[in-house]
Amino acid sequence: MLLEVRDIAVGYGGAPAISDVSVDVGEAEIVSVIGPNGAGKSTLINAIAGLLRWQSGAIHFGGVDLSAVAPHKVCSEGIALVPEGRRLFPGMSVEDNLDIGCYRREARRLRARGFERAYTLFPVLAERRQQLAGTLSGGQQQMVAIARALMSQPRLLLLDEPSLGLAPSIVGEMFRVIQMIQQEGMAILLVEQNVGQAMEIADRAYVLEEGHIVATGKPQVLLAQSRIREAYLGL
């Protein structure tokens, strides 16, 4: 497995927000983590990205123990985060945001190719390369967030609720792009409340509730369970 999260517990000072969480992502695989608001999805994804430290358990990526990797070195291992709420650098231009994406040395060498790929994937960004990121529409900001992550030439893309707050028409487009990226060979860990579409594109899925993994398996198998179908799709 490319990413192996083993029994980690992560907290914010008090009781751990997630505990005993294990998640695997293989090469070129889309893995979805679904769960209600406050379940700990962002906590999990931020720990993998190096934004949060875990108190117990282990995270291995490509065989490397991430507990020994400094937060600013995690992206050099090949992990790129598209955080919840996008978190662009709003006062910087689209191009500057993408340039931060290729800040790490190995990515900097592929800068030209990175820009070409970003603007091919999202042509509208090419027209707006000089515009301040904070002045873009929600959908365009999400495009910048994904493009910024791709600029770092990752092996694993962490997507935290990429459809959050977007118009339904754009959500469909976003999921199409995510599938395209996977077909190029990228591994993707996708966290979503938009369960229908997250399950549709996933190879495997985990259900996270109140800080624990309560179910895992192929999406069809999970959705065959009436409890999960009722809780997440209302069917």
Binding site: P71, C75, L81, R87, F89, D96, I100, Y103, S152
Partner: protein, 283 residues
């Protein structure tokens, strides 16, 4: 109404003085805007730099440019050390203001202890040379201070805008955790920036020694004006700091010429308040 040439002369004086304000504001603006630390010690070490320049020059005959080089290196190291203290104790924006206020008081007392409260003037053979353009005087040293201010402000602006490190610093100021997740060593960059801000104070100090009369209490006379300049120029914007400095410098000089020299002290805050109230597009 004063004569036209008096107005022109005050305009020149204002622009040149404004350059010095801009030079002083540069480091403060950068550390406030990009590190979220309000460094009142900035004024104190600028004056310390001025005293060192004067002392090295008058006691040992060290040329100002050489004194400047020594000061810039020493102050850079000081800036790094100061930031280490800030990081070590996780100092907040508000606390940084109090700590550096204390630092400024300590520097003032030290200056007073070593060199007394007497006014000091760095006398050099070339110190009062001017170019004469028509009926106007352009003092050479003030002009040089102004040009150095332009060079530093412009250079810093370009550095922030066009280099990876500069962009990284701006990104850290906007969202540090995400910047770190993209491989930016926030810690190391903030040390470099803090050193740089202190070095800028040193450069300002050298020119203060050359064009002004020194007294330990001068630290406080700059605080109001330079704070106004930093806010007018927008935090973290080096060219803004210079432009703000020139604006205040010119307004002060014109006020002195047209109304009354004693009104000059009111100018910086009046301009600041007016700009904050009316918010023109460029503020």
């Amino acid at each position: 109404m004063p004569s036209l040439s008096l107005l022109e002369q005050s305009l020149i004086t204002g622009v040149l003085t404004g350059g010095l304000y801009g030079l002083l504001a540069l480091g403060l603006s950068m550390s406030w805007g990009l590190l979220r630390l309000v460094n009142l010690g900035h004024f104190a070490i600028a004056l310390l730099g001025a005293y060192i320049t004067w002392w090295l020059g008058t006691a040992y005959g060290v040329a100002p440019w050489l004194a400047g080089a020594i000061i810039v290196v020493a102050f850079f190291i000081y800036g790094v050390a100061l930031h280490w203290v800030f990081m070590r104790f996780a100092v907040t924006e508000m606390a940084s203001m109090l700590i550096t206020f204390a630092l400024a008081v300590i520097v003032e007392s030290t200056l007073q202890f070593i060199w007394t409260a007497d006014f000091r003037r760095y006398e050099t053979p070339w110190g009062s040379e001017s170019w004469i353009v028509g009926s106007l005087y352009v003092p050479k040293l003030n002009l040089m201070a102004f040009l150095v201010a332009c060079l530093l402000a412009g250079g810093t602006w370009a550095w922030l805008r066009y280099t990876y490190v500069g962009r990284a610093l701006r990104a850290c100021a906007e969202d540090a955790p995400i910047a770190i997740a993209y491989g930016i060593n926030h810690r190391r960059l903030s040390f470099i920036l803090s050193g740089l801000c202190a070095a800028y104070a040193g450069v300002a100090g050298v020119f203060i020694a050359l064009v002004a009369t020194l007294a330990p209490s001068q630290i406080w006379s700059w605080v109001g004006v330079v704070f106004a300049v930093v806010i007018i120029g927008r935090l973290g914007n080096p060219v803004g700091a210079l432009a703000g400095g020139i604006l205040i410098g010119v307004c002060e000089a014109l006020t002195m010429a047209v109304i009354n020299p004693s009104w000059a002290a009111l100018v910086s805050f009046s301009v600041l308040i007016a700009l904050l109230l009316f918010k023109p597009r460029w503020v």
